[in-house]
Each structure stands twice: as structure tokens, then as C-alpha cells.
């Protein structure tokens, strides 16, 4: 396309991109200024960040968040890998139905997932806490991990595996030396994408967390409920920017092996 775009359309789109990014931009900028009750620029400061790092509650919440997100990523990526492998490679009865059920957590409203898990844990008298949050997170991360890895599997050249088998490798060796290395970018991408998925989840965690265990988003929520303080801007900036690094690496890995 060599046409230059109509000015009005470009202007409208620039405005829409501004709409998509302005809130985050404002949040980040005003986390660096001391103004407390109003969004005004009053010079540069790092005091809110200092307050965030010295806050015991936030430290605990970060610990809980990581204690949930890291095992959740490992478990769901592992399960996602073998599920994707089976769904893509094996033809079996009820494959479509299995896939349909697998994607239920992706289409169900978070609210309904959260409520159903709350009722379930209450029903079996399972104590709400870090473990219940972890179980919930794995259950909504498995579909995502599977989806990302299936997308990668579709790009693998099947003939490489056949060649390995023809040259005398058994299934295990083929899987370890051929399939898994080819699948590795997909697995890493799945892990890097499920991490923010778990780390940022609010609605489901809100329902399945007990009294003593709050993750970082829950801590932010209760801070918002208590009143808007610029400390939330600083904490929010960190919460947005740090997991984003993972996402950018994940997307990069996901795209790279296309070429």
C-alpha cells in the first residue's frame, strides 16, 4: 500500500491509542510526584516508591503472589504441554468435546469461576488460603498454556520427527532430542504468558482467598477501598511494568521462530 492514510482517520486512531495508554501513562508519571490529594505535578520524588518498598503488608502480599504465581506457572505449563501434545497429535473419540471443556475457563466470566470455586471449597470444607488460590490459578492457566503451545505445535515440521524415527531413534529420544527442542519456544512463551495471567488475576482470587492471605492485586484493591493515595500509583506502576517484561520476552520468543 503506497496510499497515505486520510488525515482524519489517522487523527482518530492517534486519539484512540491515547485513550488506551493515557491512564497508564498518567499513573506512571504521577507516581513520581509528592502531591497527595490531587493529581498535580509538584516536582520529582521517589518517596512513594520508598513507602512501597518499606510496607510490610505489600511485602507479604508480594510473597503470597509469587508463592502462587510461580508454582501455578510451572504446573500449568507442564500440564499444558502434554495436553497440547495429545490434542494435536492423537486422534481420539471426543477430541472436540475435550477441547470444548478445556476452554470453558476461558469463556466463563471470572466472577462465575470465582463463585463456583468459593462454593466448592466451602462445600468440601477446604480452608481458603494460598493453596486454594494456587489450585484456582492452575485451573484457569492450563487452558491458556495449552492454547499457546498448540499454536506452536502447528508450526512444527512433522517430517523432522519422522526422520529421527527412521534413523533409529525411539519415541523417547525423538521427543527429547527433536520434539521438545522444537517446542521449547512455545513452552517458554506459555510460561511467560501465564505468569502475568496468574500474577494479575483479581476477580477469581478475590473469591478464593482466605482472610490472612492476600495477593498483590488484593492488597491494591483494599488500598483503593481505603482511599486513593499516590502510593497506589507507585505500586501500580511496578505491578504493570515488571510483569510486562515477561510478556515482551514471551511474545518475542513466540514470534521469532516463525521466521
Amino acid at each position: 500500500m503506497t496510499r497515505s492514510s486520510p488525515r482524519l482517520l489517522t487523527f482518530a486512531c492517534a486519539f484512540l491509542y491515547l485513550f488506551m495508554y493515557a491512564p497508564l501513562f498518567v499513573l506512571i508519571v504521577f507516581s513520581f510526584t509528592p502531591a497527595e490529594y490531587s493529581v498535580e505535578w509538584e516536582g520529582f520524588t521517589l518517596k512513594w516508591y520508598e513507602a512501597v518498598f518499606n510496607n510490610k503488608n505489600i511485602q507479604n502480599a508480594l510473597k503470597v503472589s509469587l508463592m502462587v504465581a510461580i508454582p501455578s506457572v510451572l504446573i500449568s505449563t507442564a500440564i499444558g504441554t502434554i495436553t497440547a501434545f495429545a490434542l494435536y497429535r492423537y486422534k481420539f473419540f471426543g477430541r472436540g468435546m475435550f477441547q470444548g471443556i478445556l476452554y470453558i475457563p476461558l469463556i466463563m466470566p471470572d466472577l462465575v469461576i470465582g463463585i463456583s470455586l468459593l462454593l466448592f471449597f466451602t462445600f468440601i470444607q477446604f480452608d481458603l488460603g494460598i493453596l486454594s488460590i494456587l489450585l484456582a490459578h492452575v485451573s484457569f492457566s492450563i487452558p491458556l498454556a495449552t492454547l499457546v503451545i498448540i499454536a506452536r505445535m502447528q508450526r512444527i515440521d512433522r517430517s523432522l520427527e519422522e526422520a529421527a524415527m527412521d534413523l533409529g531413534a525411539d519415541e523417547w529420544t525423538t521427543m527429547r532430542k527433536v520434539t521438545l527442542p522444537l517446542l521449547k519456544p512455545g513452552i517458554v512463551a506459555a510460561a511467560l504468558l501465564t505468569f502475568p495471567w496468574s500474577f494479575n488475576d483479581f476477580v477469581i482470587t478475590f473469591f478464593v482467598s482466605g482472610v490472612g492471605s492476600s495477593t498483590l492485586p488484593l492488597r491494591v484493591y483494599s488500598m483503593i477501598r481505603l482511599g486513593v493515595s499516590p502510593m497506589i500509583n507507585a505500586l501500580g506502576t511496578l505491578i504493570v511494568l515488571v510483569p510486562l517484561v515477561f510478556v515482551i520476552i514471551g511474545v518475542y520468543l513466540e514470534k521469532r521462530s516463525v521466521s
Binding site: S4, S5, T10, I82, F92, I101, S116, F120, L135, Y221
Partner: protein, 342 residues
């Protein structure tokens, strides 16, 4: 040792009956009995165990598939399907005093769906979700069209920027709107400073702020399917129409729009379904005034502890979403998404 034994046990049928049936493919393999002395000597040879597992899987593809799918199946059954069943179960129970549950069967919760208050909240949620779809459709079409037709070599970057916020904290992004819209927020501060207004405008805690939050949250869901269908559009049709004298408007209404109908439909469903049940946006940006069905259900669970009623309402919400998704799949939306994946 126990591992070796269990494998030998599983492998036994494949060594004898199956091998005879499968014929030449299996015949060259060592008979399974040759593993037995090893396990009797309590030597654990991982490679042999592994080989016999794979041999078993090769001859029993059903077991192989089952073994690979069982972790996901197990997890989904326990943490998705059974909890859904429990929601259905609770929706038929009675609420006792102080939010306790009495185990007597009743249809009361379903009868309360026709409560005028609930119907009003439901109608409002429908309206808000519908408006969100309408606004996202216009805005999303502009962006998708611009990226698809004028994006040039920046197409991927522009698309990536559309998806990126989706991976950041949704709570923090909605909170960020408070810093923009509140009485002492950026917008009001600016307007007061340039003396356009004397007192801050009521931008927060009303339908406007909830709508803003909903559009902001779900716009990417609209842009992606629209972009996909615009990308697939055969440009030569547009060129032919232009050669035949169609104006830009005619080309858009008679060609572009009808050919991207699938994208419009998918995007609308993908925005409407989560928007109608949204909990956090009305919670943070709506204040006490803008009640939506999602927030109402959450209140039934947290504040009032009326679990049977909350369960019945959740099931109704889920039913609406499932009907929408069914219509979407039937219209070929699912196939579209699958093609996109490939």
C-alpha cells in the same frame, strides 16, 4: 523395584497376545520376559522401563492418549466441572437466617429472577453492555481499518500495542481511570486551571465512567477479530469497484462492511459476553449508583451471604453468555478463530 514390577505387569499383555496379533511390527522386539530377571535382581534400569512403557503405549494408543490427557482432565473435572455442579446444587437450596444454608429443595431463587429490582439491574447491564459493543465497534473498526490498510511495516507493532494492556494488571488499569476522572483528577484539575469550569465536573461514579471503563477494558477484543477479517479482505475487489466508479462511501458500505461481517459479529460477542457480567468496573468506577448484574451477584456472596440466590443469578448470567457463544460458533466464529490460530 516396585516401578519395574508394575511396568512388567502392564507390559505383559503386550508381550504375548498383542504381539501375536500385531505381527511383524512387534515381532522383532525382545520378549517382555527378558525384563523379569532384571527386576528380580532389583536392578532399576530406567531405559528399559521407559522402552517398555513406550512399547505399551505404541500397542495401546488409547492408554497413551488417556495418560497424556488425564492431568488436564483431572484438574478440569475437579476445579471446573464439579464446582459448576455445586453452583447448580446451591441454587436449589434455601437460605436460612444470618446467611446460613438450609438443605431443603426450593425453586425460590429462580422465582426471584423476576423480582422487579433484579430485572431493572439486568436491563441496565444489558444496556451498558450494548452501548459498550456499539462504541467498541465504531472505535475498533477505525483502528482495525487503519492498521490493516495503512499500517505498512508497523502493522505488527501497532497490533502488539493493542494487545499489550491486556497482559497488564486489569485492576491497576481501571484504578488509573480514577486518577483521571475523580474530582481532583487530572481532567478536572486541567479544566479548572484553564478556567473552562469553576467546579469539578462529576465524571466519576456514574454511567459515563462505567461505560468508559468497559470500553477501555474490552476494546482489544473488538479490534483483533475485525483486524483479522479486514486483513483477509481481497483488495482487488475494492480496486475493481473503484475502477467501475464506486465512491469511497459506496465501496465501504457495499464491499468492505459486508465482507467483514464475520469480524463484526465475533467482536460484538467477545465484547458483550464479558461486559454484561463485569464486576470490577462498576465496583470501582460506578460507586453506589451504577449497579450491574456482576456486582449484584458479588454482593449476594460477600455482603448479604445469600448464596442460593447468588448461584441462581450466576447461572442465569452464564446461560446468557453460553447462548451468545453458541450463536457465535454456529455463525462460524469458532472456525474463524481456529483458522486464525493456524
Amino acid at each position: 523395584m516396585s516401578d519395574g514390577n508394575s511396568v512388567a505387569y502392564h507390559g505383559a499383555p503386550c508381550g504375548h497376545e498383542e504381539a501375536r496379533r500385531a505381527g511383524s511390527i512387534i515381532r522383532h522386539q525382545r520378549p517382555l520376559a527378558s525384563f523379569l530377571p532384571a527386576s528380580r535382581m532389583m536392578v532399576f534400569d530406567l531405559r528399559k522401563v521407559r522402552r517398555s512403557i513406550f512399547r505399551f503405549f505404541r500397542t495401546h494408543p488409547g492408554f497413551r492418549t488417556g495418560a497424556a490427557l488425564s492431568p488436564a482432565a483431572f484438574w478440569l473435572t475437579i476445579f471446573t466441572l464439579i464446582p459448576m455442579g455445586i453452583v447448580i446444587y446451591y441454587s436449589f437450596l434455601t437460605r436460612g437466617p444470618w446467611g446460613t444454608i438450609e438443605y431443603t429443595f426450593t425453586l425460590d431463587s429462580y422465582r426471584q429472577i423476576f423480582d422487579p429490582l433484579f430485572l431493572k439491574i439486568f436491563a441496565r447491564s444489558f444496556k451498558m453492555a450494548g452501548l459498550t459493543v456499539a462504541i467498541c465497534l465504531v472505535a475498533g473498526y477505525l483502528i482495525a481499518y487503519w492498521i490493516a490498510f495503512y499500517g505498512g511495516r508497523h502493522k505488527n507493532l501497532l497490533l502488539f500495542l493493542v494487545i499489550l494492556p491486556f497482559w497488564t494488571s486489569y485492576l491497576v488499569r481501571i484504578y488509573a481511570w480514577i486518577t483521571l476522572l475523580s474530582d481532583h483528577g487530572l481532567i478536572n484539575n486541567f479544566l479548572v486551571k484553564v478556567q473552562l469550569i469553576d467546579a469539578p465536573l462529576p465524571l466519576l461514579h456514574n454511567q459515563f465512567s462505567v461505560l468508559t471503563g468497559l470500553v477501555y477494558t474490552y476494546l482489544p477484543f473488538m479490534i483483533l477479530p475485525l483486524y483479522a477479517s479486514l486483513e483477509r479482505l481481497d483488495r482487488s475487489i475494492l480496486e475493481a469497484a473503484a475502477d467501475l466508479g464506486a465512491t469511497a462511501m459506496e465501496r465501504f458500505y457495499k464491499i468492505t462492511l459486508p465482507l467483514t461481517k464475520a469480524g463484526v459479529f465475533s467482536g460484538s460477542v467477545l465484547v458483550f459476553a464479558p461486559a454484561i457480567g463485569e464486576f470490577l468496573v462498576p465496583e470501582l468506577l460506578g460507586g453506589a449508583k451504577v449497579m450491574m448484574i456482576g456486582k449484584f451477584i458479588a454482593l449476594k456472596f460477600i455482603g448479604l451471604r445469600h448464596w442460593p440466590l447468588g448461584s441462581a443469578y450466576s447461572l442465569m448470567l452464564l446461560t446468557i453468555i453460553l447462548i451468545l457463544l453458541y450463536l457465535y460458533m454456529r455463525a462460524g466464529g469458532g472456525k474463524d478463530a481456529f483458522r486464525e490460530q493456524q
